[in-house]
Structure formats: C-alpha cells, structure tokens
C-alpha cells in the first residue's frame, strides 16, 4: 500500500525536536486555552498593554480571564513553575512547538491559527552568545550543512531584556537557491526578563536564561517555497501530498 503523507509542519516539528533533543532540550507543551496570567501578566505584559487589545486576542465567552494563547511563551512560565514545584532547580532546556492564535483577518501571510516553536534555556551561566550559537546550530542542521549566519538586531518584548530580532542567512552551494545569501527575519528572542523568572519562582539573582519564539508556518514557507500560509490549514491533499 502506498504511504500517506505527513503534514509539513509535523515534519518540521519532528526535525526540530531531533536537533534540539541532541542539544539537551526536552519537548514541552501547554494548554491552548490559557489564562491571562500565564499568557500576559507572568510574561511582564501589564494590564493596559496594547497587545491585550480586543482585536489581537481571542477571549472566551463567559469565561473571564481565559484566552486562546497568543504565543507559546506561557509554557516558559508553566514549565519553570512545575519544575520548581517538584523541587527541580535549573538548568532547564525546553522547546515548545505548538499552535497559537491571533484574532486577525487572514491573507496569504496571516493566519488566525498558526504554529510557533518556543525555546528556553535557563541556568547559572547562560548568555546571549549561547542563543546565537544554539540558533546557528539549529539552522545549520535544518538546512543540511549549509553555511548559516545569524545576526541580531535590537528589538523589544516585555518578557526579554535585552531583546533581539534574529535574522538568518544561508550561504554557499548547499543553500537553497531562492534563499542563498539573503538575510531573512526569523524570530524574536532575548534574555529572559528577571521578572519572568521571578514570576515562575526561579531566583533571577542566581539564574539567567535565553528564550526565542519562531513561527513554524513561516519557516515552512521559506524552507519549501510555499506561497500561501493558508494552505497549512486547508486540509487540501493537493498541498499535503507534496510532502
């Protein structure tokens, strides 16, 4: 019998998990229907932050304080909380691939539901340089040994300080032709804000960490040259059967 096909996002998650597992990262998950404390407050997003505006976040009817998570970052807090409760202190390393939601109109580059992968490394000796090194290795393995360069630009997220935008460039013959030599914006990242560690019960005086959050749909678009993000949730085999 001919084999069926797995969704390209599943293939990416499988691949990302294998790469990060070898770097000591465990696979973590959290609820899609999340409370505002984990989705916002614990991540240093105050009550009156614009990100909480009605048009961005899906709120749940008759369940005040509940939202469809807008990012995978609440799992940072959930994971650290649960470890501390079990009496397990850092170092921690986890990735969190999963679905997230934004309450916006959809077009070729925007979907109301999409996938992210979160990364978190916490320890006594974690640096921004480790973030660069970790992402460089991830992309190098993902693009099968192509030469990969990582570049940081200043940015702002309430839950990281310093915060950076991460650009990636694949160079050399092993790079996919359409991507070769071009800087591509890949994700937001940074050093975990001390308030986030504190909110999760981890002593920010003793521990530091890096965190990143990357759109998996976007990564799939780049990786395979997919032209419409809505194909991801189309359940259309004219799309799926190509993977």
């Amino acid at each position: 019998m001919p084999r069926g096909h797995i969704h390209p996002i599943s293939s990416l998650i499988r691949e990302a998990n294998a790469i990060f597992f070898n770097m000591g990262f465990a696979f973590e998950e959290g609820p899609l229907l999340e409370d505002e404390w984990h989705n916002f407050n614990a991540l240093n997003v105050p009550q009156d932050h614009p990100a909480r505006d009605m048009q961005d976040t899906f709120f749940i009817k008759d369940e005040p304080g509940m939202v469809l998570r807008t990012h995978t970052s609440p799992v940072q807090v959930r994971y650290m909380e649960s470890q501390m409760k079990k009496g397990i202190a850092p170092p921690y390393r986890v990735i969190v691939p999963g679905k997230v939601f934004r309450n916006e109109a959809t077009d070729v580059t925007h979907e109301a539901e999409f996938f992210q992968i979160e990364g978190l490394a916490v320890g006594e000796d974690i640096t921004l340089a480790h973030l660069k090194g970790t992402l460089a290795r991830f992309f190098k393995e993902l693009f099968k040994g192509a030469e990969v360069e990582i570049r940081f630009r200043p940015s702002f997220f309430p839950f990281t300080e310093p915060s950076v935008e991460v650009d990636m460039r694949v160079v050399g013959d092993a790079a996919p032709e359409k991507l070769r030599g071009k800087w591509i914006e890949m994700m937001g990242a940074g050093m975990v804000h001390p308030s986030v560690l504190e909110n999760a019960g981890v002593d920010p005086k003793k521990y530091r960490g890096f965190a990143f959050g990357m759109g998996l749909d976007r990564l799939a678009l780049l990786r395979w040259g997919i032209d419409d993000i809505r194909l991801m949730h189309s359940a259309d085999l004219r799309f799926i059967d190509q993977f």
Binding site: P2, L32, M54, T134, W224, A235
Partner: protein
C-alpha cells in the same frame, strides 16, 4: 514615526550621512526602519522607547550615540527656568492622572500663515499646516516629543481679570465639540481640561482640544498647554472615542513630566518669533516631582549576560555616548539615566544599552555546554509520533483543520470575522468536511481512496484534550483520545524529502479515459509516456488504471487528467485532444476499445 533627515540635521554641526547609512545605523543599534521615502525615514519606535523617541530630537540622540556625533542645541540637556510666574492664569489639578500642567500666557500675537521652512517641515511628515500658532505647537511636538495645545484666551472666561484652568474627570453625559468638528460623548473615566470660571470643558486631556476655544484668525491672546497625562488613562480615552491623535499616541507611551517645561519653553519662544506678542508668564502645577533614579550594573554582569569580554572602559564609553551620568567603582557602574529615559529601570536595561550601542555583531556565537542529564522523552509527543507513522504507513495523509467550529461547548467572544465562533468538541466534523473536499480531487491526486487523519486538540466535557481521528471513503470517521506513551528515547522517523513545493492550479480539471487492445508484449510504461506526449501540454497526468490479458492480447486502460494553470478548460478542448490521441493510437495499429 516619520523622521526627516533635514530636520535631524538641525541637531548636528557636520553634514549627516546618506539615508542608507542612517537607516543602517538605526536598524542595527536602535530601531527597525519600516521604509525610506526620499528624505523621510519611517522609524518603528519600539513601545519601550515611546518615552523619548517619538521625536526628531530622540532619534538625533540615538544617532549621536551610535555614530559618535556630538549634538548641538540640545534643549532638554540645558537647565531651564519657567519664568516669570503669571498671575492672570491659574491652574488646578484635581486628579492623580495628571502629574504636571504648565499654562503659558502669551499676549498680542498675530495669527497668520507659517513661514515656508515650518510649512515644509510639517508637510514633509505628512502634516497639514494650519496657522503659525498651531504649527508652532505641532513642530515642538514632532521635535521634542511633548504634545502641546493652544487655547484662544479671548474665548475663555475671566473672573476678576483671571483665567482658571482645571484638570478634572469629565462629568456624566458631558459632551464636547472638538477641533475636528465632531461632538464627543464623554464619561467620568475620561480626563478633561476645563475653563473653571465657566465650568466648560475645553479639551479632552492629552487627546484633542475643543472647537469653541480654538485659535483662529481673530485670536490675540493665547494660553499654551504643556502637560503630562497618565498613559493608560489617555489610551483608554482615545480608544473609547476612536480618536487616536499624535498627542494621545505620545501620552499613551508615558513621557516624563520634566519634558513639559522644555516643550513649553520651546513653543513659547517659537510662537513669539513667528507671531510676535509677549510672554506674560507661566503657571506651573507640578504636585510631586519624581526622584532621580540610579541603576547599577557591574562589568561582570554585562559580560555574563551578553557572553562578551568587554572592558570597563568600553562600557563607560557607551554611557558617555548616551550622555548617562555614571560613577564607576570596583567594576560597578552607578548610572543616572537621562530624565526622559523612563525605560531604564534595572541592570538588564543597561546591559541592553551596552549590547545594542556596541553592536550585537560583537556577541559571539557560542554553543551551549552539554546538558548534565539526558532530556526526557515527552510521552504525548512520542505517542503522537508513533500513531502518525502508523497511519501514514497505512496510506492515511495528515491534515490540520481549524479549531473553530459551528458548534461546541465553548466559544470565543470576539472573533474578527464572527463566523464559526465555537471551539471544536470533535475532530470528526472537520475531517469529514476535508474528506468531502478532497474526494472531488481524487482523480487529480491519482488516489484509489482518500484517507485522512488529524491529531489535534478538542474541548469537550470541560476539558482540553488531544485526539486522533481518521476518515476515509470506506470507513466512517472515528476519533479516540490520544494517550501518552513512555519511552527511553524517540524513534527515528522519516522526514519529508521534498525540495521545493509546486503551486497547484486552482482551476477545474477534466477527466478522460482511454482503453486499448495492444499486443501482449507491449511495454505499458512506454505506451503511457507516448499518450502523455500526444496529449501534452493540456494533459497533466496519464495514469494506468486497468490491465488484463485475453486471447494473447493485452488490454490497457488509462485515465487522462486535463488542467490549465491559468484558466478553465472546456470539454470541447479535451475532446479535441482525445481525438488527436485516438488518431495517433490508430496509427500505431492499436485498437481503441
């Protein structure tokens, strides 16, 4: 924010670099650039820097620090006195949401058009020039970041020769006609500026001034407002009134009350320069002046966070470039940030300043040390992967359908498109829909049977749970709860080997079958490619679907799929191609069944 290079130049003695160089300097050390149009940079100021960088002076300061260019004429770095005190105007603040209100009283101005330099400066940012008074207040806002407003004093009520400005909450069911000629219904949650003698609202604090007290051609005396309003309150008001203005945008981001004095000084001086008149004086209500903050960070900490080996001298150079006051002792910097830099609160904020000014290219890429223990295998993901592989090996393909549904136990309250607001309680419905849609494309896909599966979350019985569901043409859709499964390690499973995705045609396809009698020793594969050649280019696929032998002859049947990437094909077109194919087949001496 739109930033003009010519405007920036007023802050520097030496000619600035070209737009590309300015854009690059900001991109790698401060902010993303959303676009460059001629002389205008569109700078995406991050929310933590709305305090100081929604202004030309703020961006000039950034460039000064990044490019090591000395600033000239930097108003807010000079000491300032708001004098003389005026008796003719009083200010009272009856709310904790206004930390400062300065009223400046200028008499005998001549309202008229603005000079060309001012008109040009505002128009370059896409702003409309109104008159010299209003333009002066707008110019100072885009220059220093302090919103200002001008009232026509002649339209305010005087009592014993004195004007009285009050900042208070709006009254119930209060209305105000604003400068945009629209009437706004106010609520007590909103802050207003009131002409206290008449108890009349003359402005929505931090958002918009009122029409009745607006400056016009007959205005002679004016009261200039340079104030500080609470960020969250201004944001809520602007949102509720659907009136987001350049002023509200700046207050929303929270600005320092210290800036109000510099804004007032600059505006008053500019107005007298442009419109004449004399500054009668100022009334400054500033109930509680904040303390100057000190933030400490050590050289060690900076290097520990960034993963760098910077020296104390290199770090000190960053603070000098940013004009932060500091004292260094034993490797610890005690830093006094500028008053407008409300974002500098903790050591990590200073680490970021050092990192971005020096440049993140100086941060090396270092691999993490080995993790002290083997990471755990996630039981749910392990189980999902196992069942995924099992189903794929049985010919099922994986889809993701939307979590939004027509029915369910829970619903979202505010869906933008308001369709399908429920959270699905089952995967089955979505999967059945997907099955239905894919069955139409079965011939195009070359499938004997469409078989789908989905692994996804549903909300049922008050819980969020992971399900796996299958659906195919032959069996009814079914789903089951996905149970986690422990394992010491992950299995090595195949990844997609696809290189590039090929976009598919969205136009309908046409199917034609052909069955042939051919000699028993005919190469069926060769025949298939001959058919494909004869039917090209309209025919996308030729797929064998039947084969049997009878009395030394071979019967072969093929299905031809016709489709165009850019239009809908007609039956007549497909028929014409089939006639061509039939003719070619007969030429070979084969018999069409």
């Amino acid at each position: 924010m739109k930033i003009s290079r010519a405007w920036l130049q007023t802050y520097f003695e030496n000619p600035l670099s070209d737009m590309a160089a300015l854009s690059e300097a900001l991109t790698f050390h401060a902010f993303e650039i959303d676009g460059i149009e001629g002389d205008i940079l569109d700078v995406k100021v991050t929310p933590n820097r709305g305090h100081d960088c929604l202004s030309h002076r703020g961006i000039a300061k950034e460039l000064s620090a990044i490019l090591k260019l000395p600033l000239k004429n930097d108003g807010p770095r000079k000491s300032i006195i708001i004098e003389p005190k005026v008796e003719a105007v009083s200010v009272s603040i009856d709310t904790p949401l206004c930390s400062r209100y300065i009223a400046g009283y200028i008499k005998g101005v001549k309202v008229g058009p603005s000079p060309e330099w001012l008109r040009k400066a505002l128009e370059s940012l896409g702003q409309r020039s109104i008159n010299n008074i209003v333009d002066a207040t707008n110019y100072v806002m885009f220059d220093l970041g302090q919103p200002l407003h001008a009232f026509d004093a002649g339209k305010l009520s005087a009592k014993d020769g004195k004007y009285a400005i009050a900042v208070r909450s709006a009254r119930k069911a209060e209305k105000m006609l604003a400068l945009d000629d629209k009437e706004y219904a106010l609520t007590p949650a909103m802050l207003v500026i009131s002409d206290a003698n008449a108890d009349a609202t003359i402005g929505i604090a931090g958002v918009k001034g009122g029409r009745p007290s607006g400056v016009d051609g007959d205005t002679v005396d004016i009261v200039i407002e340079s104030a500080n309003f609470d960020g969250a309150s201004t944001r809520k008001t602007a949102q509720a009134l659907k009136l987001r203005t350049d002023a509200s945008q700046r207050f929303e981001q929270v600005i320092s009350p210290e800036l109000a004095a510099y804004g007032m000084r600059a505006a008053a001086d500019l107005i007298v320069q442009l419109a004449g008149g004399t500054i009668a004086g100022f009334a400054d209500a500033y109930p509680t002046k904040g303390d100057q903050k000190t933030v400490s960070v050590s050289v060690e900490k900076i290097n520990q966070v960034l993963g760098t080996g910077l020296t104390a001298a290199e770090i000190a150079d960053v603070f000098v470039r940013l004009e932060f006051g500091y004292k260094e002792e034993g490797g610890v910097f005690k830093v006094i940030p500028l008053f407008e830099r409300l974002d500098i609160l903790i050591a990590e904020d200073l680490v970021e300043e050092v990192g971005r000014i020096i440049g993140y290219d100086k941060v090396p890429a270092t691999e993490l040390p080995p993790f002290p223990k083997k990471p755990e295998v996630n039981a749910n993901f392990y189980a999902a992967e196992k069942i995924r592989e099992d189903l794929v090996s049985k010919g099922y393909s994986e889809v993701f359908t939307s979590v939004f549904a027509d029915a369910g136990e829970r619903a979202v309250a505010n869906k933008v498109d308001s369709v399908r607001p429920y959270l699905r309680a089952t995967l089955v419905d979505g999967l059945n829909d997907a099955l239905e849609r894919n069955i139409h494309n079965k011939d195009l896909l070359g499938l004997k049977e469409v078989k789908l599966f989905e692994i996804g979350v549903v909300w049922r019985d008050g819980k969020e749970m992971m399900m796996v569901s299958t659906a195919s043409e032959k069996e009814k859709a079914a789903e089951m709860h996905l149970e986690g499964a422990g394992s010491p390690t992950y299995d090595e499973l195949p990844l997609s080997k696809t290189g590039r995705y090929q976009p598919f045609s969205k136009y309908p396809f046409i199917v034609r079958d052909i069955a042939l009698w051919v000699p028993a020793d005919t190469d069926a594969d060769r025949l298939r490619s001959d058919l494909a050649m004869w039917a090209a280019p309209m025919c996308l696929h030729v797929r064998p679907f039947d084969r049997f032998e009878k009395s030394g002859r071979l019967s072969l049947a093929f299905r031809l799929i016709f489709q165009s990437p850019g239009r809908t094909l007609t039956d007549a077109e497909a028929n014409a191609v089939m006639e061509k194919v039939n003719a070619a087949v007969k030429d070979r001496g084969w018999e069409v069944r």
